[in-house]
Amino acid sequence: MSTEAIAAEKPKRNYNALFGLTLLALLVLLWVILSLSTSSFASANNISNLLRQGSMIAILAVGQTFVIITGGIDLSVGAVVGFATVIAAMLINAGIPVFLAILITLLVGVAIGLFHGFGIVKMGLPPFIITLATLTSLRGIGLLMTNGNSISINNDAFQEFSRNSFLGVPNLFWMVILVGIPAYIFLHHSRWGRYLFSVGSNAEASRLSGVNVQRTIYMAYTLSGLCAAFVGVLLASRIGIGNPTQAEGWELQAIASSVIGGTSLFGAVGSVHGPLLGAFILATINNGANLLNVNAFWQRIITGVLIIVIVYFDGLRRRGGK
């Protein structure tokens, strides 16, 4: 049905690039409209804000995309983000060097991802269920650790990071680039990326071709857990607290960004640039609605409608383009 992906091979590349362009065009269109309709949108300051606001969901969406390409889903990412803020905050407050604290937090994310892989591969659980269970439990564990309290991080340098910019671009957005480029190379130009697609397309065929399907699945969830833990570190830096109830619902935002970016929930279709664009489209909608002082309730309605419209037209294009 769907003509698809693997952007890197030639005719595909043109095609996918085109889709990237369609989305990019949408994003630019939104920007132009907002620049014309509000005085403040196009200010350097606001653009910085916008980049910051979209960054975290963008990184989550990239991790989520790896999982979705294999035909799975990771509902736990929001909970992992919240949990990671707690871990990072506790470690930093315990006086552990920031660098080490971040490393340990990332390893926790990796461990959670490995656990998901284990549940899926060894225990035969559906991804939806194992990650749903983690979502539930992880918030509980975080709440136990903090007793419902927020942990105030007593390290100003750590907090400065997410506020500052480098070459005029907010550090948070640099982090998107830091994640995005290796992710792009990994997904579109390495054999591991190729295996993510092949497993999502036909796990049995991949296995028969000698692809280590189990390892590929472990890898996808580990990367998603890693991205989520990384976002947790960034969030801890940005809001300066560790709190396990934060980032609630971000999993759905990440999934929505990914799908808006052209990822197919049936697996085997997706890219890295798509989810990034998807996340910034959603961030722009929220930013614009705030600037225009649109009622918060309308924002929800508009977001829902836009998700339907974008995914519908993407589907049309996909079928038509065949």
Binding site: T38, S40, N45, S150, R238, I239, Q246, N290
Partner: protein, 298 residues
């Protein structure tokens, strides 16, 4: 057997309610009462709280202390519970005449106090002129106490501070980050914004971050509600102009104490106001205020 008096709060995952529980725990220890600590996991989970109340009553306790999430919705279940045990209300009201005693902070009053605090902060920053644009950020739609704070805030602005114009009344989704984003965008859209009321703990954390991030401490007044370490730090740094602080610890402690007395058939006061105080950098060292800011947890 030991006397059991469960306490049911609105949201066990929030720090504010943890302080209430800590007060109740201390009372239990002091008075030799077993105090199960119950509560929903979100202020909006009305049905969950009803179930918890039903379960608590099923355990045949001496009395029940409850902070109703929703006045109307909890009315009937509280009537029903009161038919079996004494019910003590804390924090917020419910449509029930069955409370034996009621210890509350008036959230509407809290909103008024916040408006006063914001007006004072704006005045101080602008050479005494209390005018300009202000905004209100509410953590979640549909939570009764937050609606009451908003109501009090808006009433007071209208009544006492005609110079302050409420240009935005925004709802977030309970996430600090969303509060941060909304505040950033409001500041961007309204460079002349003078003040923000962030009506609960988590919003104050997010909005405080936005003000710190944009280096607007002292230029944009911010009033928060409730306190924790992070907010006190903001207060110290001048990022937050003031916090409306209730006395959750006392609510918990006195709730259990009153409940025990009531269960023994002693006469208790029907209505107790535990008060809402405005804390600023100036008064935060007061012993009384300091006790509110640093409740003895555990």
């Amino acid at each position: 057997a030991e006397v059991t008096i469960p306490i049911i709060v609105k949201d066990t995952t929030s720090f504010y309610w943890q302080i209430v529980l800590a007060g109740a725990r201390k009372a239990g220890k002091d008075l030799g009462v077993n105090v199960p600590e119950l509560g929903a996991q979100a202020e909006t989970d009305v049905n969950g709280q009803i179930s918890i109340l039903e379960n608590a009553v099923a355990g045949n306790p001496a009395a029940v202390v409850i902070a109703p999430t929703e006045a109307k919705a909890l009315g009937k279940p509280i009537d029903e519970a009161a038919a079996k045990v004494k019910v003590i209300g804390i924090d917020s009201g419910a449509d029930s005449k069955a409370f034996t005693s009621f210890l509350t902070t008036d959230n509407v009053q809290g909103g008024r106090v916040a408006a006063d605090g914001l007006a004072a902060a704006i005045g101080a920053a602008n050479g005494g002129k209390v005018e300009g644009k202000v905004a209100l950020i509410t953590a979640l739609p549909g939570a009764g106490s937050l609606e009451q704070r908003a109501q009090g805030f808006k009433e007071q602005l209208k009544a006492k501070y005609p110079g302050l114009e409420l240009i935005a009344d925004k709802y977030a989704d309970g996430q600090a980050t969303t509060g941060l984003n909304i505040a950033t965008d409001l500041i961007t859209a309204n460079p002349d914004l003078k003040g923000i009321f962030a009506s609960n703990l988590i919003m104050a954390q997010g909005v405080g971050q936005a003000i710190a991030e944009n280096k607007l401490a002292g230029k944009v007044g911010l009033i928060g509600f409730d306190s924790d370490e992070k907010l006190i730090k903001f207060l110290n740094d001048g990022v937050i102009s003031g916090l409306v602080v209730q006395d959750p610890y006392r609510m918990g402690y006195d709730g259990i104490k009153t409940a025990l007395a009531a269960s023994k058939g002693e006469k208790v006061e029907a209505n107790v106001d535990t008060g809402a105080n405005l804390v600023t950098k100036a008064n935060m060292k007061d012993p009384k205020i300091d006790a509110l800011l640093n409740p003895k947890l555990k």
